[in-house]
Symmetry: C2
Subunit: 208 residues, 2 copies
DNA sequence: AGCATAAGCGGACTTTACCCCGCTTTATAT
DNA sequence: ATATAAAGCGGGGTAAAGTCCGCTTATGCT
């Protein structure tokens, strides 16, 4: 038997986990995020409160799990879908496409994404902060192709990630913060993101 | 008697407010932010819990008030101090100086700044989001001087503010997230901020 | 000074996240 | 099949945020 692996999830545990997520979605759909309480969730799922906490650790953990579920499809598109979001386009185009897609995703899910925030912990939205890692990777590629000559790409990646996700997580009101018309092409934040990226990469030598 | 003014704060109320802030600072100094509870604060200040909530509305409100107190000096320097932080320098220099100063301020106060976050409300750190307004103003000036040709400065201001404050508010761990040596000149985030601003303003025509 | 009124005050009460720990169930090894 | 240990489960218990409302006190007017 292999050594370090901490033994697979028990089948009853897995069943309960899926059940809880399912019920949580129902409760959110019916009464909104605010009304999802740990007691209520446990009772409606026919389980004990202790079970809920064992599975998700904290209230925010439930919403994190929900976001992660929805994030999976998004990640697929980023990692293996068609360009420019997926691999194949040049890094600058991919950064722009990623930003637009991520903003749309966050707007779509802003209720649960914000509920997933935990005051006592750094942001863990998406599995291990996909955004920061992906942005960092694309910046690295851009540097390889000599599209960019900046030394500290780690800090830059953190700041660009904040520019991307921060507005939705922090700075905008929660109720209808955006034009009622969600035409993807007309989201101001997305246009602004594109501007920042384009200017960041416009080098004096090959301008344009 | 003038009309709309809602009558000045009563002297006992003001006394209690100051008293509570003072006691809160003591408790933070002794046991850290986490240990400041509303009951504890009220008891130690010799007041009722209801009073604490009436004054500050919410737990986060206390820390908001503390940050605002400290913010006042910072604001003075921005509004009326010597350039480049204060008025007098060109907008680009002021943006860079503002970012560096703000990052230093947030690092200095990161414990209470983070405690001032409220999951149910957009970020209100600083009085009415000084950062966003100030950045917006400097962007506007830059456009007047034709240093910048971007249409939607509002969105840009939001995103730059997020790039500035987001990392400290959201993305970095809370315990010693930074080099122990706090030399202002060596803060990676500040350097990275400067890079973003410089590139944002570097126009193809007058590059350099 | 006396009065009317709005503001402030206190602390019991409610709600909810989160902890704890004895019991039950599952997975594995023999 | 049985034993054993690890993981899961339940629900009562605790602590802390936030609400309510009857009582008290400051304030401004006359």
């Amino acid at each position: 038997m292999p050594f370090g692996r901490p033994r697979a999830e028990r089948v009853d545990a897995a069943r309960n986990r899926l059940q809880l997520l399912q019920v949580a979605r129902e409760m959110i759909a019916e009464h909104g995020v605010e009304k999802v309480t740990m007691d209520g969730l446990a009772e409606r799922a026919g389980l004990g409160k202790g079970t809920v906490f064992r599975r998700f650790g904290t209230r925010a953990g439930i919403f994190r799990a929900l976001v992660d579920e929805d994030d999976r499809a998004f990640q697929q598109a980023v990692m293996g879908g068609p360009p420019p979001l997926g691999p194949g386009a040049d890094p600058v185009q991919r950064l722009i496409a990623y930003g637009r897609a991520r903003i749309a995703f966050l707007l779509d899910h802003h209720a649960i994404v914000r509920a997933a925030l935990d005051r006592n912990q750094p942001v863990p939205v998406g599995e291990h902060n996909l955004s920061r890692l992906h942005v960092r990777m694309l910046l690295g590629q851009a540097r390889q192709y000599e599209l960019l000559d900046i030394a500290d790409l780690d800090s830059l990646a953190v700041q660009l990630t904040a520019a991307l996700e921060g507005p939705i997580l922090l700075y905008l009101g929660m109720s209808r913060p955006f034009p009622a018309d969600p035409t993807p092409a007309s989201i101001p934040l997305a246009d602004s993101w594109q501007t920042i990226i384009e200017r960041l990469f416009r080098t004096p030598s090959h301008s344009g």
